[in-house]
């Protein structure tokens, strides 16, 4: 059963076609790896699906509505959340307050009073309890990324888009993050992971979609997809297509 079904998504920026008719399907309970060389449109797709950019054409069915026609807050209410590659926490609030706020406005409208204590659950899940009440500027990048995660999870999403969650982390942090992603998935959240670390994504994902220059060039089983010649060509350039 597909949770998200996007067809013919187009997004221009001036003369550049960032997304040139993209189809994307995410099955319930899946982890979809979204990969592709730089500039292929991965982040643009995330931004379009989460309502941060308005698509020029196409539709994306999620839970009965076309999210390409909804505003970001409606998309959140429908159960679709995202994280940012460079964390964007609310800087005048603590981590706890960040998560509490998220919980208040997420899929179900929770009351202010219940929010602070509920936030604790998500903070524990992401190992942030110890730093939950410190000023944001005292958190490390790794912690901020987990905060992004906690905040997104507090909206109780059915589908979570992770935009380059592993970028900028050292190997230990990457391992911890992978474990965290698996735990999130185990809770029943469907994931779309945009990543540069192809090895990691291939290992994590149940399905993969490869983008190149705004178009889908492959989709399916991760190992098989990464062996396809045009995928290899897209990453390494035309000279290597005979490899």
């Amino acid at each position: 059963m597909s949770l998200l079904s996007g067809t013919d998504i187009v997004k221009h920026f001036g003369g550049i076609k960032a997304l040139d008719g993209v189809d994307v399907t995410v099955g319930e309970g899946e982890i979809l790896g979204l990969v592709g060389p730089n500039g292929s449109g991965k982040s643009t797709l995330i931004n379009v699906l989460s309502g941060f950019y308005r698509a020029d054409r196409g539709r994306a069915d999620f839970g009965g509505s076309d999210v390409l026609r909804l505003g970001p807050h409606q998309i959140a209410a429908a159960g679709l959340a995202r994280t940012f590659q460079i964390p964007r926490p609310f800087r005048t609030m603590t981590a706890r307050e960040n998560v509490a706020l998220s919980y208040m406005f997420g899929r179900s409208r929770h009351s202010l009073d219940s929010a602070r204590s509920a936030a604790g659950e998500w903070l524990e899940f992401t190992d942030l309890e110890d730093v939950a009440d410190l000023p944001i500027n005292q958190l490390t990048l790794h912690q901020l990324k987990f905060l992004e995660l906690a905040r997104a999870l507090a909206t109780e999403p059915r589908l979570l888009l992770l935009d380059e969650v592993l970028a900028g982390l050292n190997p230990t942090e990457v391992e911890e993050s992978i474990r965290m992603i698996r735990r999130v998935h185990a809770r029943g959240v469907t994931l779309v992971i945009v990543e540069h670390l192809v090895r990691v994504v291939t290992a994590l994902s149940t399905q993969m979609t490869v983008l190149d220059q705004g178009r889908v060039i492959a989709h399916g089983d991760p190992d098989r997809v990464m062996q396809e010649p045009n995928v290899i060509k897209a990453y390494l350039g035309a000279r290597w297509d005979h490899a």
């Binding site: 989460s50 964007r88 609310f90 706020l101 406005f105």
Partner: protein, 387 residues
Amino acid sequence: MTKRGKALAGFALAAVLLNLVPTLVEATDSPGFYITFMFTAFFWISQAVSWNILTGYSGYFSFGQGAWFGIGVYTTGILAVKHEWPFLLALPVAGILAGVAGLVLGMVVFRLRKLGGEIFALTTLAVAFVLASVARLYSFIDGGRGIFMTSTPLPEFLGDFRTAMFRMTFVVAFLTLLAAYLIFESRIGWGLFAIRDDEQVAHGLGVPVFRYKMLALGTNAFFSGLMGGVWALQIGFVTVDDVFNIRVPLFVILMSVLGGMKHWMGPAVGAVIIYTLTDRLNSAGLEDVNQIIIGGLLIVLVLAVREGIYLRLRARWKLALATFLAALSVWTLADLGSSVIWDFAYASLLTVGVTLIPTRARRRTEVRSEGPPVAVDEEASTDRGPG
């Protein structure tokens, strides 16, 4: 009792006590000016606090306070004088009209995504100018001739003019503070703070940003206009230049920055301090110096006292209260100030000065943000943002 219950009880108590003031003043045969002083303070409290609901909470900087104030003044002016409406009927219309004007502006400006904060600020400035021009041009509003408010009759239950002004301004200020408090401690307040920090992200997390911004703007405009409606009586002869000038927008900024834009009470404290200061400077014959001090104060404040005085006072409230009471008693008993107001002024200044003295014990970590400058003070950390 819940926190909210306690706060509301505090409000009720303040309401009861303050209403006794006019009676007290008469009973002690004190100058009527004391009442005027207080109701002018109420005026500024309402303007500053309502402005902060938009600018402080949401981060959308408004230069347009003069616009809402002006609409309020002219609405009661036109309705009560030119069309002879009962004043108390014209008054809510003043607030509503100003509020609607604010919402109209919001509909236009907030719908356009590409407009950043500074463009919003400029647009609010433009609105004030446009309204002034319109008022000047059209004689059904003003036409350059002004409106005499002195012939407006007020209902008898309000008392004489001064007491009536006291009561009306008090009610409006009270309602403004109540609104500011309720919003601050609610989801809407949280949502607005999130908008201030990062509107895009807030939107993506489910905050209905347009709706909340409209609410903040509308509330700001409504209360500003409502108080403006009352204030028309105090102005007496209402003219475009007198009403649509830079004074109101300037002072509300100053008062809010001084008092602190991060808390609903901040601007009220700032209003009392700034008003007291300017009033005393004026009475000492130093009007010219007034503006220079105000400008200088603004610069110093925005650099040095980032979270505003109110949070500082609250963090060191025992020290503040002790200083204030001690100074007040000393001044009053030693008869140092020529009037109660001078006593109050000196005591306040001393209190503010004392609480601003930096102590080595606390390390302040500064946080840069999009909206008003913020410092996260270890001691005051529970006041960071909402509840």
